[in-house]
Symmetry: D2
Subunit: 466 residues, 4 copies
């Protein structure tokens, strides 16, 4: 049995360091800070002036790398990757960075995102004799770059990127340099930082904090940068707005201490909670957040509503991989392994329960029931984002549409399913109003069903079934 994880999952995080004698070690720390973006595999590739070194494996960053492994990754240039992947025997094959040899020399790539035309490009490439060793989109980009008879890696990569559609925030190690690229709609975040003389690139600013690096700026949507000892050079200019920043990064994915898309995640989440209290008030005694992701919004809800915030749910810090459930099964065992209500704080109380989203509804139901069993008189569930009605095709692991409870059920039906006394979602407009960036620059596809960039229906379907 695996601890219930009824949430969307970020699929990847990337990091790169250029011009530091301890590059691999710094990327390791960067990946450690980005661990929440992918917990199933991790890898690092470096360039030591002569050749590429790499190590990747299944598991957590802190388990995969030790002093010995890092010492085998010499060089002043390094890139790294963390990945959330579905189970399967080919899992390690899909781990990144992907390292290959091409006519442009050795290349290593770490990619966060998802291409929407990967399947057709793949078929076309196979028709031309390409062999694919993984099922990742990233290999498509490499094939395209390798095929282009360019004078430089830069030129070849730009040509490859011109052919792909979709979400990509990627770092490419090409001998002594790193190329950092972001798709023109800027779906996923990518930031540039500085650590003394060295340059750092990462998916979120929390990676810079652990390294002691300073945030310089975002890599702009559409922009491609070349980083080497000589500094940072733009080799493709930024694209013009409107963009399609993933609003779910602010709702749930990014760490609250990160800054992405030009705003502080922790602040945004608190504002979402305040707005939620405005839109969906509740006649209640206390506010409880679902740890950890629901806590900032719960604090915002408490502040705006004036209802006291209490730690009514405690998270178990030692959650491991698997739990051995007794033969006589225990009620709500799955969620209890992770969360426990504090009876003394909720018993006899009318509770506002704040969470960031509802996916299948099964976890929410368990938490609501658990609170009631702990004596809560009423449970008013409040969600700091709109109903999630559709899957993501831009780099987030989501269940199929039919598994999303809000894709087919009304709010009232969902309320009955989860067993809450009332249920209120934040409106899409309300959510976007909490952000300083103009609303048209966000992708809200999973909430609104308005999908940017989607290709033929058949390709979409194929992706959905993956």
């Amino acid at each position: 049995m695996r601890p219930a994880e009824d949430r969307f999952h970020e699929e990847c995080g990337v990091c790169a360091v250029v011009g530091h004698p301890d590059a691999a070690n710094l990327v390791y720390l960067g990946l450690y800070a980005l661990q929440h973006r992918g917990q199933e595999s991790a890898g690092i590739a470096t360039w030591d002036g002569h050749r590429v070194h790499s190590h990747r494996a299944m598991g957590y960053v802190a388990d995969i790398f030790d002093r010995k492994t890092l010492d085998r990754l010499p060089g002043e240039v390094a890139i790294g990757h963390v990945r959330y992947s579905t189970a399967g025997d080919s899992a390690l094959t899909n781990a990144q960075p992907l390292v290959v040899n091409t006519q442009h020399g050795p290349l290593a790539v770490a990619h966060n995102g998802n291409l929407v035309n990967a399947l057709s490009l793949r078929h076309a490439l196979e028709g031309e004799g390409a062999i694919f060793q993984s099922t990742s989109d990233t290999e498509v980009i490499l094939h395209l770059a390798a095929r282009f008879r360019a004078d430089s890696v830069e030129e070849a990569l730009l040509a490859a990127l011109a052919a792909v559609k979709g979400a990509y925030s990627l770092v490419v190690l090409a001998r002594e340099r790193v190329l950092a690229a972001r798709d023109p709609l800027g779906f996923r975040p990518l930031l540039l930082g500085r650590l003394g003389e060295a340059w750092v690139v990462a998916s979120e600013s929390c990676a810079f904090d652990l390294l002691g690096a300073e945030l310089v700026r975002e890599v702009a949507p559409g922009e491609v940068l070349r980083l080497d000892r000589a500094g940072v050079r733009q080799i493709r200019p930024a694209a013009s707005p409107p963009y399609a920043h993933c609003v779910f990064e602010h709702v749930y994915f990014a760490r609250p201490d990160s800054r992405v898309f030009g705003e502080d995640v922790g602040i945004v989440r608190q504002r979402l909670g305040e707005r939620l209290a405005l839109e969906q008030p509740a006649d209640a005694d206390v506010v409880v957040g679902v740890p950890d992701s629901g806590i900032p919004a719960a604090l915002g809800y408490s502040r705006f509503s004036g209802l006291p915030f209490v730690l009514g749910l405690v998270r178990n810090h030692y959650v491991g991989r698997t739990f051995i459930e007794p033969k006589q099964s225990i009620r709500h065992f799955g969620v209890k392994v992770k969360l426990n209500p504090v009876r003394a704080l909720v018993s006899g109380k009318r509770v506002v329960l704040v969470d960031d989203s509802i996916v299948r509804g099964t976890t929410s139901r368990k938490i609501v029931t658990m609170l009631k069993q702990a004596g809560a008189r009423e449970v008013h569930l409040r969600i700091s984002s709109p109903p999630t009605i559709g899957p993501c095709f831009y780099g987030i692991d989501t269940p199929e549409r039919r598994e999303l409870i809000a894709s087919s059920a009304t709010v009232e039906v969902i309320r009955q399913f989860v067993g809450a006394d009332s249920l209120g979602y934040l409106s899409e407009a309300g959510m976007l109003a909490c952000l300083e960036t103009p609303a048209e620059n966000f992708c809200t596809a999973c909430f609104s069903g308005r999908y940017p960039l989607l290709e033929t229906e058949s390709e979409t379907l194929a992706k959905t079934q993956r």
Copy 2:
């Protein structure tokens, strides 16, 4: 490098199940819930009607036990133990339950606590020919019981307990029954629960929650219970007050969703924060708690003071065993691996930083500096307990006296050391006022220096040097 852990450590947690076909599996879950009381080794012993089965190993509960291991622990009676132990080659030898054969048959013991006359008993026993295979106090109890030519295990155990002085909350597996015993001063908690027809004993009530068991009552100080298929029988009566309940269980050790010594820990901690705000107000903008132990008191501080609570420090959830620090060391690296400030929430603010205790002061100093680097204008450190001036001899792993900063430094000197703009501790009287149990029933030795039960100075010294 290990993530800085500048705190006192609970040394053990115990759990027992009697009369359930899945006893080992339930104890495993109980230990999982008690993991915070000991993270270095764990073990389970069972009685299957014919013989004792046991498994113990170094590591986390979830890593030590799997379906196969649990299937090798058959029987309806089981006890278990989690342990925090100092490093050393003999670590596994000291892991519990300790399983032995005696004239009274096979015995397995799991013990939370520390005896103050263990050393002299040990010397006496050795003088009579006993051999010791571990350095744990628990073995002393077993030797004493094994030596007593009694008609029953119960009689032998009572005789052994009559000879020892100190803190013990222990469970003994003796064929088809479990004996649960608590010392007359009730230093450490021990509770009795019920799961259908089965009985459960555990160090904290949070273990009952995960098992779906109900809390029946505390095992009273001095009480010894016999649990078997026939039910629960008292074989030694409760002792009279005053007791010496460890107040630090409420301050820090126990889980906030637990009930110990008759009170809800989460509620007590919030009250400690409120009282702290009363005694030690601060002219500030926001309240920040040190995750996770400082959060409940910080919420109480916020509530009483009216200052808003913000999540100004984010905890990294993937903290593993070791981290590979870069050769060019990073400032405050040790604490950054665990905590990161949310710049947007603290920058330009006057921050009240709430923590539960200060041990050496080194971690507090790092956190204060980190907040200031993140832009905090002022940092006012508030501690929800009095200064810790002495080590514990009753089952808590504490540094030696000279390492405790408050044993020699004034509050002002500590303030300068940690770099805070002001520093305030809760008073001993204030702390005790937050508890409904009368003050005389608590041991406050680490705060007050008033040690119950202490033997000769030489024995104390020996213990201190361990």
Copy 3:
């Protein structure tokens, strides 16, 4: 499935080094050379001038110890142990060296052998209040020594040894010295060696070879030696003959490059084969030995008979722990994983197949069938020892009597069972004639049923059922 192991098993090997700065490392090598005497657990204990350090674990010597583990075993005095143990959850508890604290200080013991009065001593000790943490005889010896109120460890150990009956070749680490003791009948071997200024003790001389040490002499039956920086001192004199040396050490247990009981094992085995050819000739074309233990006798058989020796059976060198047998089972799979016939050498041939012993007969049957399937025209099985009719109570792991095919079946019945065209065993007299040591100094209990030292029938029975 485990590779068929239808043989008697030596239960243990011991090694000690005194007066060498690298003592643990040397003992590690000694254990490595003695690995054939016990493959299920291993351990080392050292004395660094202040305290005892120890490490023991399940598995092979080379897997258990690495540079880090050995570096944690400092000191100039070390003892070690390899053990063959029956499976069970308490396996690690029984691993040696056993390390305890007593009134005589810390003691570590490594023991090869088996006591015949262990059970009654154990009951008596338990009656006096002793607690037993293992099921090994060794713990009995420690209890006895610890109880004796002696002026010295030496005196205490001698008193303990005076109380025990049975087989013991043991090394005791007692602070700066090692005591090496052998029972008066000298069942199991124990030898003294010298490496520069240091002293070495080991179960077989092959351990000295790997260390570069010289064989000095046997520790005599009954003798107890004290080894320390000052040299070697006898603290109990040798016993007078007749002895009860285990003749099976020469037949199978000891390594062919070892010297035990004053004779070279490799030479003895070749002689056994020559004598076998004299007593049990065969009208055949080639001689094949069962690898590896049957090879020396097969060479002797070939030499005496004049029939050519061929490598008709090849041993697989990569035999690991377990093999995954296909669902459609393969004929003789179990033995094929270990051995494969060389068709070209046996096809159409009348083969003399030489092995050292037959236990249950199942393996012999598989090998005979395998050879016939490979085309052998006739297979004449010749065994270089007499029929094994009884279990061992002196330190060898043997099946129960009823599992020994020769305990109930005639040679002709066994021949039919194994499917050989003829079957011949070496006679007991013939076996003993191959040894220079007088016959009366050997224990032949498993062949003859004449058991030295056996206690009451009840104790024997209890042992048999274990």
Copy 4:
């Protein structure tokens, strides 16, 4: 420290099963039997009617696969590979079978051999846009096949093979069929077997023995077979002689119970020893073989010369990965860990020491010295093959030319280096005379320097430096 391995290494072994419900399990057993051909990584790929499953890892076959891993490899068609690879971070990347997707569908390949034009093909392919994820020649073959716009996989593979030069014995999994191909010179062995209704392909016949399969015939040099449910079909005919069978397979690589190139290895090795005795007699007392590879030739030497064969060197069966050498190093430690002389059998004797080859001479020197220290009066070293003067470019891992002692030193110089009293090699003509296959069908490049097929000197040099 690693046990000295001063020998040539076979680089790979392959196995395939078609038409058996337990295909992966059978290939696992086949690989187990072929473990001596590659001990650093292993892998299996299967086709279950819908998709390819695969698992590969570093380590021994028995460690890599267990019941769970095999159960994840369903299907009636399977191929497998064992590999000896040089250390390096890319080791796992180079493990086989290599599994890819192409326009011809999924392909998995396991390859034994080495291409001599791999480098130029690789450069050409990279120039056309190919990306290489490994450094193995096998990927070149896959790229060539994937690029060919053929109507069938068979056609594409034949086109690819038409472009490559060198040694290849390979099996390709292409959906429901396996293609088995061997280069026209037949450098490395490849055999066809039958197990009931199923077909088996393997590098050596010993794999068939463990599976209970029958040897049908060799896959002929140049031949390509297609195996599926319908049976075996030839899709490329056999090439005409002369061939270039690797004579070293008979001298050392293949298992003595295998049949390769139409002859029984065990018989050939014995004949080499007989011929060696004829060409290089010695005035001596006993013949000793270096275990295990020198034993068959030593037996032949003994038989022809009439000198008795004795087991003068004993091999340690528990040789693991690494050994912890004491700080004060032990003389000849490296070889002693593996071999120990039986003093009683060699002391005072004039010994003929028989080995199959001398590579650097360092191991031979240690063995000779060890025998002399054990008392051998004279040591006459006899080698059952000619001096090895050159590296191999056809699938054997050999040191560079300058490391081969015989590439620069005379026999007399080598004799002095190894410290033998005399040294004699078998002549090339003598070696070839022991084989029934005509001499012109063997590659003797490492002995004679006559390299078949060698490309430009630059490519050769590049290979040599690898």
